[in-house]
């Protein structure tokens, strides 16, 4: 007898691509066949910034005791005992929460991710609790895409987790740490740990304004020099082999990341020792989970950490980062702003797989962007299509870069200056008579001094985001004549020609002839003129 369609998992699976998560949810409840068939699709893509995750996270009980936080956007009641001290376990008005009347706690959340985590292929994390959930038991090892936005503002009210300290003199600069109270205290073996100091009556974070300021250790320049950093830019780096003044808990995943991989900074003088320690411990825990997650997902194709919370108090050693990146043989898209900050570009390049297609490392503090180019020049790479990095160079430098990455379609640099009159640099390459790499470059970001030459040698550019370069009349008219291909021009300052005089006579207005697309007009300040120019442009 032929089986019915609804009983054949292989066929039922064909339906999955057409169903929304809500429909998939209905389907996984139907029976065990459908459950098995649809769970992988339901759990394929997880983004904890959606409202429903926020709701669930707010229901998590057994948090550490929290002081009462001021009223937030939610109307949820925070239960307190009659004399108004905070209660450890928060209960909710259950009737607000659909029909789930079970108590959800942290272990329940962890169990879910243990159960379903291996189906996840795309993960977008804002909450430290979710990060912990996916990392702790290595339940999530099939990731292809990881977006980390820890510390980003999300829709769900975070402040319910946070002890909001009232401004105390020594703590006015303490940043609000998302989810501070929610992380597991790692098992302590012979070290003293306090993740979150227990709240005092005034709700502050272990306020003790009378403690003498800690002297701290001398800053050792050794590590700084080895990585080629300007000593003034990172002025709180300590020698990692010196005993840190803060005792952190033992590593959670000693096979992956140990204290030796850290670069712990001097104690922050502005806060009390307890606060400093708590913050470092928090950062340490987050760092461990983050790197553990990355290292146990060798199938990662895409990593985006551009909205990650900056780990001010310490960093991870470059060698550790490079070793980790070397594990990711399939990585194609790395947006490493923030988590991968301040790395030496070409050492980073060396650690990336050859098939990398998109790289964005705008290290604002790093003195070394892409330039100067190493000597001898790196091997040509035909796979990279998008490069957003820091660094300033000359026109020659730009063209050389294009020859190393001939298939770039989008390039972002800080500044491209004119070639010097007298080129004494033996590495400089004389301008060739014909286009020199960069035949596919469409979008260029950065301020360009000698745009005439640049656009002459790279005529494929149709979009130019000039960042801070002020536009003047001559430039506008010249661009019109020299760069007929230019479709989009964007810059930070409103250009001169948004001016009543010119909008009166459309045909004479150089802007009309110059600008071909509309969308970049949105950068301008003057709304009235924007509308006028925009109307003009719509005329045939």
């Amino acid at each position: 007898m032929k089986q019915a369609f609804v009983d054949i998992p292989e066929l039922v699976t064909h339906l999955a691509p057409y169903l929304s998560p809500a429909d998939l949810l209905s389907c996984v409840q139907l029976n065990s066949t459908w459950n098995t068939a649809f769970i992988p699709f339901l759990w394929r893509s997880i983004d904890d910034s959606i409202h429903s995750w926020g709701d669930i996270l707010l229901q998590i009980t057994n948090l550490r005791p929290q002081p009462q936080s001021p009223a937030t956007t939610t109307e949820k009641a925070i239960e307190t005992t009659p004399n108004n001290t905070p209660v450890g376990v928060r209960t909710f008005d259950i009737s607000r929460h659909r029909d789930s009347d079970y108590n959800k706690d942290r272990d329940w959340l962890f169990a879910i991710f243990e159960r379903y985590g291996h189906h996840i292929r795309e993960l977008n994390i804002q909450s430290p609790l979710i990060l912990e959930a996916v990392s702790r038991k290595e339940s999530c090892t099939g990731l292809r895409s990881l977006v980390l936005g820890l510390g980003t503002n999300v829709n769900w009210p975070r402040t319910e987790y946070l002890p909001l300290p009232p401004p105390l003199p020594q703590q006015s600069l303490l940043p609000i740490l998302p989810g501070l109270g929610t992380l597991d205290t790692p098992p302590v073996v012979g070290g003293s740990v306090a993740v979150a100091p227990s709240p005092s009556a005034d709700g502050g974070m272990g306020a003790a304004p009378d403690l003498p300021a800690f002297e701290g250790f001398e800053v050792a320049p050794a590590t700084v020099a080895a990585h080629g950093f300007d000593a003034t830019s990172v002025d709180q780096v300590e020698d990692p082999y010196q005993e840190p003044d803060v005792e952190l808990s033992d590593p959670l995943f000693p096979d992956h990341l140990t204290l030796a991989d850290l670069i712990i900074t001097k104690r922050d003088e502005r806060v009390t020792p307890e606060s400093d320690k708590a913050r470092k411990e928090y950062m340490w825990t987050i760092a461990q989970h983050t790197w553990h997650l990355i290292r146990t997902n060798p199938g990662l194709v895409r990593i985006d950490t551009s909205r990650c919370y900056r780990f001010y108090d310490f960093g991870i050693s470059d060698d550790f980062i490079f070793a980790t990146l070397r594990l990711l043989k399939h990585l194609k898209d790395l947006n490493g702003n923030d988590l991968f900050k301040d790395l030496h570009f070409w050492r980073l390049w060396d650690a990336l797989p050859a098939k990398i297609e998109s790289l964005s490392i705008i290290a604002s503090l790093s003195p070394s962007g892409v330039f100067p180019l190493p000597d001898p020049l790196p091997k040509v790479n035909t796979s990279l299509k998008v490069l957003l990095a820091g660094g300033s160079t000359t026109v020659n430098g730009l063209l050389t870069l294009m020859s190393i990455f001939p298939n770039l379609t989008r390039l972002g640099l800080q500044k491209v200056e004119k070639n010097p009159e007298y080129m004494s640099n033996p590495n400089s390459i004389p301008l060739p008579p014909s286009p020199f790499g960069g035949q596919y470059l469409r979008k260029l970001e950065g301020s360009v001094e000698d745009w005439e030459t640049v656009f002459h040698y790279i005529p494929s550019i149709v979009e130019w985001d000039a960042q801070g370069e002020p536009l003047d009349e001559d430039l506008a008219l010249l661009l019109k004549d020299h760069c007929p291909n230019l479709e989009s021009f964007k810059q930070q300052y409103p250009p001169w020609f948004i001016d009543e005089r010119f909008t009166a006579v459309p045909d004479d207005d150089p802007t009309n002839q110059f600008l071909i697309t509309h969308h970049h007009l949105r950068v301008f300040d003057s709304i009235v003129n924007y509308i006028k120019v925009d109307e003009m442009l719509r005329e045939p």
Partner: protein, 159 residues
Amino acid sequence: MPVILVSSDNQDFKVDKEVAERSILIKNMLEDVGESDSPIPLPNVTAAVLTKVIEYCEHHRNDPVQVPEETDDPRKRSNDIEEWDMKFMQVDQEMLFEIILAANYLDIKPLLDVGCKTVANIIKGKTPEEIRKAFNIVNDFTPEEEAQIKKENEWAEDR
């Protein structure tokens, strides 16, 4: 050049080769058999269903062959069924499922897609109980198991 297809209940269907080759299974069989005129037996497809399948292939005989897109994302839309296909799919549920099974067996991807989209549209917006009723699906979960599954996957609920 006509080809003869034989249904499971021994009915012959004469179709143009071009139409028959919308089925990759038949296409491959024809390539293997070569110039022979012998009819092709399809033991898994009844005459009623085969009629419908042939009708589909006739109507779509000139469609370009679909190339599967190289993408990691399996998600697709189901609101883009063309009008003729929609009318074509207005059959009773049993026939709908039979068509999908046949399209799967005969390897006619566009027909399989249309069939699945149609079924997906039936599922959309329904509660589990409604879906079970619509498709005669037997529930083998205990109420506790079902409640647990629902709770564990609560994040997916529509707000």
